[in-house]
């Protein structure tokens, strides 16, 4: 299995997949162009690239574990025994930029002090905003076979999407926003910030996985 693979079939069993592809491509391109104009190349790379790498590893491990699969896309990336389409990575990086900016605009108007609480508030709100959009997007994706939940994790589902999916959205966006904000406010040079943002992904990945296991265990224990 090579790192990059081209899909043999495209959109045969899925419905309106082109709508999803067009939407994410337009959103991703608009945000990248906007960020390049506003923040420059280095900052834009720092906002988008680490999230794409993190999403690749997190999504690939979920696919390899049989939680869900992505059928019939054009370009796939393979790591840890799971295949993830390029469009999903673009979607995740636009999610981080969108929700980080939106939550910043709310928190900066409500809480002016610049401290750890400020960073925690922005990260929490970013995760909550992410859930709000995913409540519309994930059931629609499952309904139209854009991605398929192969494993019923049991417990509560929302239009056949397991509750743990929404919890994971919050966890991923929370930790990625936290890391992005801490690095952004570290005061180091842009080059160093970029390198730290790539290497610190291991810390983010470990935190995401540990938190996921912790809450999954609690929810399974109480039968939720």
């Amino acid at each position: 299995m090579s790192f990059v693979e081209l899909g043999q079939e495209f959109g045969i069993t899925s419905d309106f997949q082109y709508m999803f592809l067009v939407t994410i491509t337009i959103v991703w391109l608009s945000l990248v162009i906007y960020s390049l104009k506003k923040d420059g190349v280095k900052k834009t790379t720092r906002y988008f690239l680490p999230m794409m790498i993190a999403a690749l590893f997190i999504e690939a491990s979920a696919v390899a574990n049989g939680r869900f699969r992505y059928p019939e896309y054009l370009i796939y990336f393979n790591v840890l025994g799971g295949s993830v389409p390029l469009i999903i990575l673009m979607g995740w990086s636009s999610n981080l930029y969108l929700f980080l900016k939106m939550s910043k605009s709310v928190v900066l108007n409500l809480y002016k002090k610049i401290n750890i609480l400020h960073i925690l508030l922005i990260s929490t709100l970013s995760g909550l905003f992410g859930i709000c959009l995913d409540i519309l997007e994930d059931p629609l994706a499952h309904h139209n076979n854009w991605w398929i939940w192969t494993e019923s994790t049991g417990g509560v589902t929302f239009f056949n999407v397991p509750f743990s999916n929404f919890m994971d959205w919050f966890i991923i966006l929370f930790y990625m926003s936290l890391a992005t904000l801490f690095i952004e406010r570290s005061g180091y040079s842009e080059n160093r910030k970029l390198v730290i943002s790539i290497f610190s992904l291991t810390v983010v990945f470990a935190s995401v996985y540990a938190t996921h296991l912790f809450f999954t265990g609690i929810f399974q224990f109480i039968g939720f």
């Binding site: 337009i26 945000l31 910043k104 605009s105 059931p139």
Partner: protein, 105 residues
Amino acid sequence: MVIMENLPILILLGSTGIIITLYLCLTGKKIQKEEIEDTESDYTTIFGISFSIISLIYFFRLLMMFFTSIISRFYILAAIGSLIALLPLITIFLVRYKKMIRLKV
């Protein structure tokens, strides 16, 4: 579990990443002041109405998903999901509205 199968390589990668991150954080010189972003620069005024470009892009994504759920005949989701997905925009609007009122007073 794929994580368990790849545990040795993941531990190696994880440890390397943590050590390099710590090294970069501890040895780096702070050359810039803490950056506090000016979110007002995200706003643009068209025909006298102030729009946040980020919120507009989010609204476009929401609208496309709403439209897709309608043509997929998934009407319940279109109604419930879209209302929930509108909450971030409503929050931003209310916070900004409150700020404008405060500035006028």
